[in-house]
């Protein structure tokens, strides 16, 4: 395969190289750099781009990427894996979702792609990443998560033509049942939808739970599912496991809490819920029950706030709905 260069990571034929991609500068002038790993197969083939920690504290993705990278052998690969396991590096180091150096515009990197070289810090970082992604990636898998260890769903860019078609095949090969076929008007500014609109089939995997709230078997299971995607794309050899049908939700609701208080959830990820069903109980600061949270609609729980504390406006529940009937 043709050699490539991403930051200081330069390939030289088949094998594995590491390096750093400069994203921005710290106030002291030293670089904010994201780690890059490139594994190049002996045979030619497509390039899959993987990244984790677009939201800095979603470490499960870092570990899934590491687990995958440790398990692949360049001598058995046709194509290439490019991985940025700790993308939003200053947020990664700080243990928070967004860069602590971002002072404007919210700083949610997954709303700022493709970025802007003259924009805010997060927009500049997004630009530095996306220009490489666009140049090198044939496929994108982006790792995210929500709060709890049982988070287990996926999204693909359901845009025109082969992007939707290939995205759906990747989602099926990954095989989480709860999957959203993301329509064109949703999640603008995400790496997934930006890549999709540039013709790059793209999948988001939501796995594990943020911070330390994930388990080793979440990581190992997701890495095996990722290998299945690589088999589908013929980067790895072997039969593609059939994990069965996927839900293909056509929409999701992101429900914000309308009140604060102590909170204990009453549902878990993957649960089917009905409209008006109680999904959690609020307590006041003295421990007295002070109200319930109800689901605004029927659907499947994709993410639920674990408590123990809630502030107005926090994400209470994330519901997938209207699965495609086929």
């Amino acid at each position: 395969m043709k050699n490539i260069e991403i930051g200081t990571a330069r390939t030289s034929g088949a094998g594995r190289v590491t390096g750093w991609l400069d994203l921005a500068d710290y106030p002291d002038g030293s670089p904010m750099r994201a780690p890059v790993v490139i594994v190049t197969g002996v045979n030619p083939g497509p390039t899959v781009w993987l990244h984790g920690c677009v939201h800095g504290n979603e470490y499960c993705g870092t570990h899934i990427i590491h687990e995958l990278l440790r398990s692949v052998d360049p001598s058995e690969m046709s194509g290439r894996v490019v991985a940025l396991p700790a993308l939003n590096i200053t947020a990664f180091n700080a243990g928070i979702r967004m860069s602590p150096f971002e002072k404007y515009n919210g700083g949610d990197m997954n709303r700022n792609f493709p970025g802007d070289p003259r924009g805010s810090l997060t927009q500049q970082m997004a630009n530095a990443i996306y220009s490489e992604l666009k140049q090198h990636a044939d496929y994108l898998v982006d790792f995210h998560t929500a709060h709890t260890p049982d988070v287990q769903w996926a999204l693909y860019a359901a845009l025109d033509g082969t992007v939707a078609e290939t995205g759906e095949r990747m989602a099926k090969a990954f095989g989480y049942h709860d999957t959203l076929a993301t329509p064109p008007d949703m999640l603008a500014g995400s790496a997934m939808m930006t890549a999709g609109s540039d013709g790059i089939p793209a999948l988001i995997v939501e796995a594990g739970g943020k911070g330390p709230a994930f388990l080793k078997n979440n990581v190992e299971d997701a890495a095996e599912r990722l290998r299945n995607v690589l088999r589908l794309l013929e980067i790895l050899q072997g039969d593609v496991t059939d994990y069965g049908p996927i839900a293909n939700f056509s929409g999701f609701d992101w429900v914000h809490a309308s009140r604060g208080g102590l909170f204990i959830p009453a549902v878990a990820c993957g649960d089917k819920i009905a409209a008006s069903q109680v999904i959690g109980q609020y307590y006041d600061i003295f421990g007295a029950p002070s109200g319930t949270a109800e689901s605004p609609r029927e659907g499947t729980v994709l993410a639920i706030h674990p408590g123990p504390l809630m502030t107005n406006g926090e994400t209470l529940v994330h519901i997938g709905h209207d699965p495609r009937k086929d």
Binding site: P35, V37, H63, F92, A213, K216, F286, G287, P308, L309
Partner: protein
């Protein structure tokens, strides 16, 4: 029945009274008022003082206090429970260990007791709380935790005389098998230290796990152990359950991490470890193993860093030394 007055909570008859104690003021001039609960029994008796969230994100204690207080019928209670379930309120709200308004001196409230009337933000909190505690408390239980769900140990002030004797009885009635009889050169500035020096028998319970990392089963189990402490102190009727022999430590080792990196622990709370044993593994941001962490001494694991990321100097492990079973 003599009136008990703590802030706006004024209790002069059996039942639950709630109110707030002023512990500071925010820059906009609004008061910082920490919640106070007073549960008086039908019969007079001792005052057991409990507080939680001296470290703001240790919510397991808040729920343990709520579970306990909500389970007791005042008709069955001899004496009074006083509780501050969310003591370091601004840290509690911010989901962090220390008050976000503290600009100096680290702000670890459990190193600032008995406090100072004209001291720093945190010293003033300690002063406001300790004045009331010293005035009212006959016994004191302080709820804390470490990082992981399996955190489960106790400490009591072993300063001689009645403080030691009653503290040891409370510890046995609570019954976690790992316990440290703390000498008065340990944890100076803790509420335990100040209370013990003032002649109040005192127990610290470490239970649950920070933030959302605890279960409500663990909370209810800890509340039942508290009822056992209350039976031991003759505040509730009934036989005192014997939880069996405990491991008493001579002291503890508190080890800070010699490396920064990704970290995966290989031991859990309550495990017996020997000096030199591997307790976890560090890998770099590319996923390559870089070092092992070794136990600096033999003993029982009281707390261990859950990973997945570690800065140099983070608390790696907390070990109870020279366990003696009796």
């Amino acid at each position: 029945m003599k009136k008990i007055e703590i802030g706006t909570a004024v209790a002069d008859k059996p039942g639950l009274t709630t109110g707030h104690l002023n512990i500071g003021a925010t820059p906009d001039g609004n008061p910082v008022n920490t919640p106070v609960m007073i549960l008086r029994g039908a019969e007079d008796g001792p005052v057991l003082w409990m507080h939680a969230c001296v470290h703001g994100d240790e919510y397991s204690g808040t729920f343990t206090i709520h579970s306990l207080i909500r389970s007791i019928n005042p008709a069955d209670l001899k004496g009074t429970l006083v509780a501050m379930p969310a003591l370091n309120l601004t840290a509690f709200q911010a989901n962090q260990r220390m008050s976000p308004f503290e600009g100096f001196n680290g702000g670890d409230l459990n190193r600032c007791f008995p406090g100072r009337e004209n001291g720093t933000v945190t010293e003033q909190i300690a002063y406001a709380v300790f004045g009331a505690l010293k005035e009212h408390a006959d016994y004191f239980v302080d709820f804390h935790t470490a990082l992981t769900q399996d955190t489960k140990w106790t400490l009591y002030a072993d300063y001689g005389g009645e403080v030691s004797e009653k503290g040891a009885r409370m510890t046995r009635a609570f019954g976690y098998s790992s316990t440290l009889p703390a000498k008065d050169n340990l944890l100076q500035g803790s509420a335990m230290h100040s209370a013990g020096k003032a002649g109040i028998p005192v127990l610290i319970v470490e239970t649950g796990g920070v933030g959302a990392a605890f279960t409500h089963e663990a909370v209810d189990a800890a509340a039942e152990r508290m009822r056992n402490v209350m039976r031991e102190l003759l505040m509730l009727d009934g036989d005192v359950e014997d939880y069996g022999t405990l491991n008493y430590f001579s002291s503890f080792d508190w080890i800070c991490s010699p490396h920064g990196g990704l970290f995966e622990k290989t031991v859990s709370c309550g495990e017996t470890i020997s000096k030199g044993q591997v307790i976890g593994r560090f890998s770099d941001v590319f996923g390559a193993p870089v070092a092992e962490a070794h136990a600096p001494s033999s003993g029982i694991v009281l707390a261990i860093h859950p990973g997945p990321v570690m800065a140099r100097g983070d608390l790696l492990i907390h070990i109870g030394l020279h366990p003696e079973r009796r």
